[in-house]
């Protein structure tokens, strides 16, 4: 057992690194959907925007200045994009959920295509900032320092998001909106403002995740769909609108993606679907999803 653990340590650590990244992505997706009923299919495209941003600022040599600038710009771009998405979906608020999802799907096609016009169709790789670019020894194995840092960032963000959602008045508003949006707006809270804020922060998390993920995944066309699907699987497994669910789901899918691929390379896709199927058969609303969805 210990031997198996030792030989697969790198895969397990990779799984946690992927999980951290997926958590940052999925928590935004999950809360936006849980609170606002907007399934943002442009989430993956926003991730890719962040990744290309990181490449633009770091391709001449990775510096901390460039990395932090990329994070800052990505956060701003994300906030703005969230605002734009929120304005765009507003006229569709009374139409079925599908129409809003389709709108964001159209937006994601446009964004992905514009990115491929600007940056070409080649896969671009991005270096980690200095000091994190090397490998360090971890439990007797050499492991890229950047991925360890990524795990750390993911854990810190998870704690921050959890504390904000569970312990602050803003968080109370979030939880209340997930539970019953009509009631929240009946109590005098402007739904549209909440929507702008939530979509802005959710989109910001996506672009920031893109920058953070760039040294691991690089930037290439098609990455947006891959990432979006992983994030959606995380959200489905974890349950819509649940921070805890997004965290557990992200860690499970991170391990499936990494350890699963390492141990059973041919079956990885089936394991992903199998995990999803198993969770949905046992818990149709996800592991930590609401007991009962509004309107069902």
């Amino acid at each position: 057992m210990i031997e198996w653990f030792d030989s697969n340590l790198v895969s397990i650590l990779n799984g946690f690194a992927i999980g951290s990244l997926l958590f940052i992505l999925a928590v935004g997706l999950s809360i936006v959907f849980g609170m606002m009923d907007v399934l943002n299919l442009a989430h993956g495209a926003l991730f890719l925007v962040g990744a290309y941003l990181a490449w633009s600022l770091l391709s001449d040599g990775a510096t901390w200045g460039g990395f932090l600038a990329a994070l800052g710009i990505a956060a701003l771009v994300g906030l703005l994009a969230g605002g734009v998405l929120s304005v765009m979906t507003e006229p569709l608020a009374r139409r079925p959920i599908l129409d809003q999802a389709l709108l964001t799907l159209g937006v994601s096609l446009v964004v992905a295509e514009v990115l491929s016009i600007v940056y070409g169709n080649d896969a671009l790789s991005v270096g980690a900032p200095p000091g994190l670019a090397e490998s360090v020894s971890f439990l007797g194995r050499s492991y890229p320092a950047y991925r360890l840092a990524l795990i750390g960032v993911g854990l810190v963000l998870a704690v921050v998001v959890y504390v904000v959602v569970e312990r602050t008045s803003v968080g109370a508003l979030v939880r209340a909106s997930v539970a019953d949006r009509e009631m929240v707006s009946a109590m005098g809270i402007d739904n549209r403002k909440v929507k702008v804020a939530v979509l802005g922060i959710g989109s910001m998390l996506a672009t920031v995740a893109g920058v953070l993920g760039a040294p691991v995944y690089g930037a290439r066309p098609g990455l947006d769909d891959t990432i979006l699907i992983l994030a959606l699987v995380v959200v489905v497994i974890g349950g819509l609108g649940s921070v805890k669910g997004a965290f557990v789901g992200a860690m499970v899918i991170g391990q499936v993606e990494s350890l699963g691929r390492a141990v059973l390379p041919d079956l990885a896709s089936f394991i992903l679907f199998g995990t999803l199927a198993l969770v949905l058969v046992l818990r149709p609303r996800g592991l930590f999803g609401p007991r009962k969805l509004a309107g069902t």
Binding site: F33, L39, M88, P91, L92, R95, I97, L98, D99, A101, L102, L103, L105, G106, V107, S108, L109, V110, A112, E113, V114, S116, I117, D225, T226, I229, L232, V233, V235, V236, L240, D266, S269, F270, L272, F273, L276, A277, L280, V281, P284, T296
Partner: protein, 341 residues
């Protein structure tokens, strides 16, 4: 609107004989279009004929998706999976066994149905956004399989060297003959879907779309109906995939990918979900923009399609079919407002 559709559903296939003359009259445009389609190869250049064939292939795929999206109310983002399964199956059978057209189309449809039966059992249990996500996940998994199973699918290079389709032992090499074969299968597939949609089963599916609890209380099993619709849609998508292999003779993972599914959804939305004939027009627009206009846009057809997608969501909530049926919709709304208590 909602109540009247549920009412139609509840009464099932009961139809008065008085409708017959009007439905005969309504068949006239369909016959005209069919005659034009049959005559097309005599008039059009071979390239234009091939594009028209591609439109028909994609249209059949889009119409099968419409059975799910428009008729049953199950928005699937992963429908390309069954299209891809059909295309690969037909391609492999054509290379390894026989390129007899009827066999190819049948095995492709069977493969699509089996794949849909295996995955739909789970997908159909969910609804709304969960269904969207699950179908997306299924689609992505099939896409990944097509790229990773190199020995079977040819990996990212695709499956090439598919021989020309044969009908009764004769190889069809001229673009016009291939087109007629595609057209014949398209007409059969479309008619099959149209019959399903007009049958009592179709009525029940619409009822489930509009008011599932009511249908359940009337004794229908929504799961069973949705599952049947899902498998039928998968089978027809498989047939369309088989036609794709016949027409293009090259199958790549793109055919099973997310973008193909998204474009089919665009065709359905653009044409008008639930009308079946609308998505055919939507598919024509999609294929023309992507294949015919694509080269002049340096391969950035998807950019135009994305913009069209965004505009369509805002401007054409019921698609082309909605434009054509505005007067009918006004009448229906009047009737509905009279009926709603």
């Amino acid at each position: 609107m909602e109540s009247i559709v549920a009412d139609t559903a509840a009464t099932g296939g009961r139809r008065g004989g008085g409708r017959r003359p009007s439905s005969l009259l309504r068949a006239v445009p369909a016959v005209v279009v069919l005659v034009l389609l049959v005559a097309a190869p005599f008039v059009l250049a071979p390239f234009a004929t091939t594009v028209l064939g591609r439109i028909l292939v994609f249209a059949l795929f889009a119409v099968s998706l419409d059975l799910l999206v428009g008729v049953t109310g199950l928005p699937s983002l992963g429908h390309a999976a069954y299209f891809g399964v059909g295309a690969y199956t037909a391609g492999i059978v054509a290379i390894e066994v026989t390129s007899e057209g009827l066999v190819l189309v049948l095995v492709a449809g069977l493969a699509g149905a089996v794949a849909a039966a295996a995955t739909g059992w789970l997908a159909v249990r969910s609804s709304g956004v969960f269904f969207l996500m699950l179908t997306l996940a299924v689609g992505e998994i099939v896409y990944q399989l097509t790229t990773t199973l190199d020995s079977v699918t040819g990996g990212s290079n695709g499956l090439y060297g598919i021989p020309a389709v044969r009908v009764g032992g004769t190889a069809l090499t001229l673009a016009g003959y291939v087109y007629w074969f595609v057209l014949a299968v398209f007409v059969l597939g479309f008619t099959a879907l149209w019959l399903v949609s007009r049958s009592p089963v179709g009525g029940a599916l619409r009822g489930i779309r509009d008011n599932e609890p009511r249908m359940r209380s009337l004794g229908y099993s929504p799961f069973r109906y949705k599952y049947v619709a899902f498998v039928i849609a998968g089978a027809v998508a498989g047939v369309a995939g088989g036609l794709f292999a016949v027409q293009v003779r090259l199958v790549t993972p793109t055919e099973a990918g997310f973008t193909t599914g998204a474009l089919a959804l665009l065709a359905v939305i653009l044409g008008g979900a639930g009308s079946l004939w609308g998505p055919v027009l939507g598919a024509a627009v999609v294929v023309l923009v992507r294949d015919a206009l694509g080269p002049t846009l340096e391969g950035h057809g998807p950019l135009v399609l994305g913009i069209v997608f965004v505009l369509a969501v805002y401007l054409l909530p019921r698609g082309f079919a909605g434009l054509a049926g505005i007067s009918a919709a006004v009448q229906r709304r009047r009737a509905a407002s009279r009926r709603t208590p």
